[in-house]
Amino acid sequence: MSDERFEPKIIAFLCNWCSYRAADLAGTARMKYQPNIRTIRVMCSGRVDPSFVLKAFSLGADGVMIAGCHPGECHYLEQNYKAMRRYEMLRHTLLAMGMEDHRLRLQWASAAEGNVLSAAINEMIEQVRALGPLNWPGLWSENGGHQAAIERLPHEHAEALEVSA
């Protein structure tokens, strides 16, 4: 129904040491954020391969968040810098493929920043809600009578033979 509010599906990769704990803190402190986010805990934001993000979009996600420790505070020294560079590379490619900017977000949130993470989640949900559904796999379907055209071919081949005979 057209008057129903669009509820985006957002996948969030949260690092074990900072951002997942920030989400935990938000929970224990009873900070509220909207339930459109599906969290996946990874050991480090540097573990998030671009293929994870692409797969999320290809399975129907409307947005993807990658969250990790602040630069300089990575549990694994400097892997979040790799996450930063991968995000930039991925953003560059997704924009070139025609995807809107706000559907992918990199967010730093320390274990003490439940408020920062919940505010970022709420902000991203509103941005993606305003963009509307992505439905990337829906782009792959054909419409234009191709099935009928396929089924017609063997009959046309038979008819062509009759004419030439």
């Binding site: 671009p50 293929s51 400097e78 991968r86 930039e88 560059h92 493929m97 792959w140 234009g144 081949h157």
Partner: protein, 330 residues
């Protein structure tokens, strides 16, 4: 004399390079002709589709199918040859990954027709006529194939038994595969269905250049520099796809001072070629400053889809760009 096994070769959306590659096995093509009864090969022999339609299902032993699927006629031929063949091989990059025709997935049918039939500078089409799948002529209704929005790989269309990588496949690999198939038809074990018939290592492993630590401040394009002939091309700043690309060519391009562009597709275990390139290149950028990183990427890689998905956009996780593209993105 027992009947020879039957071989079919077909092309869909492709450039014809795979046909040349088959002939590049040189005089060994005579062994192929001696070993097989070739029932369909539009580029070389006069066989009719209607004859294939009349054959019993599974009566073709092997079909080497090159080209991607971008219209209804090609999809029909893929379905027909799947039904008639015991072994269907996606032969070459187009059938395997979508290849260059697959870059059309950055646009859709409307945008492609608009450019090709209306806006292209060499076109004179004052009435703005574009192809219609159906046309009423005085003699009756005429049909041409329906052009698709999205180029598909062969295995996104029908079930495929084996894949032969490469744009085009290497002659020695083709001959090795033909010999293996002949042996298989004689009872020798064949690889499991779904196998990519190629090496399981990367072009870097076949490249003889010296590799050191990679730290890159600026990506360069081939016209901007003449690289030295001894050091790793990526370390010299060229976007070389060797680290993500399946071996098999003997590092032909790096050997002649040109970076690998990834024509053999993703190495074994890599789901998305572009993702592997993105993650690798991101790792070697020598900066921790977001603004500088963005500048390095935007200046050095102006066409990320064409760089990372030149041969594999239809097979990639996202398969295509957004449709319409009116003001979205950059």
């Amino acid at each position: 004399m027992t009947a020879k096994p039957k071989l079919a070769l077909y092309w869909a959306a492709s450039c014809g390079g795979c046909e040349i590659a088959v002939l590049a096995i040189d005089e060994k093509i005579l062994e192929v002709a001696a070993a097989f009864d070739i029932v369909l090969w539009p580029v070389a022999i006069d066989a009719k589709v209607h004859d294939i339609e009349k054959m019993a299902d599974q009566s073709i032993d092997v079909c080497l199918f090159n080209g991607s699927i971008r219209n209804s006629e090609q999809e029909y031929m893929a379905q027909l040859l799947r039904r008639k063949s015991k072994i269907l091989v996606a032969f070459g990059s187009c059938a395997h990954e979508g290849c260059i025709p697959g870059l059309a997935n950055l646009a859709g049918r409307e945008a492609i027709f608009d450019y090709v039939y209306r806006r292209s500078p060499s076109v004179d089409n004052p009435q703005g006529i574009v192809p219609q799948p159906e046309f009423e002529a005085p003699e009756g209704t005429l049909h041409i194939p329906v052009f698709y929005d999205t180029v598909k790989t062969l295995d996104q269309t029908v079930t495929v038994d084996y894949y032969v990588p490469g744009c085009p496949p290497e002659a020695e690999n083709i001959y090795a595969i033909v010999k293996a198939v002949v042996a298989g038809l004689g009872g020798a074990p064949l690889p499991p269905a779904g196998t990519v018939l190629g090496k399981e290592t990367t072009v870097c492993d076949e490249c003889e250049r010296t590799r050191n630590e990679k730290k890159i401040k600026a990506f360069k394009r081939t016209w901007e520099m003449i690289p030295n002939e001894t050091d790793c091309l990526l370390e010299q700043g060229l976007v070389c796809c060797g680290l993500a690309t399946r071996a098999g060519c003997g590092a032909l391009c790096p050997k002649v001072n040109s970076p690998c562009i990834g024509c053999h597709g993703a190495n074994a275990g890599v789901e998305d070629f572009g993702a592997r390139m993105m993650t690798s290149l991101a790792s070697v950028i020598d900066s921790n400053d977001p603004a500088e990183i963005r500048r390095i990427i935007q200046a050095g890689i102006p066409d990320p889809v064409g760089t990372f998905y030149r041969f594999s956009l239809p097979r990639s996780l996202l398969r295509r760009g957004a449709l319409a593209g009116n003001g979205r993105g950059h």
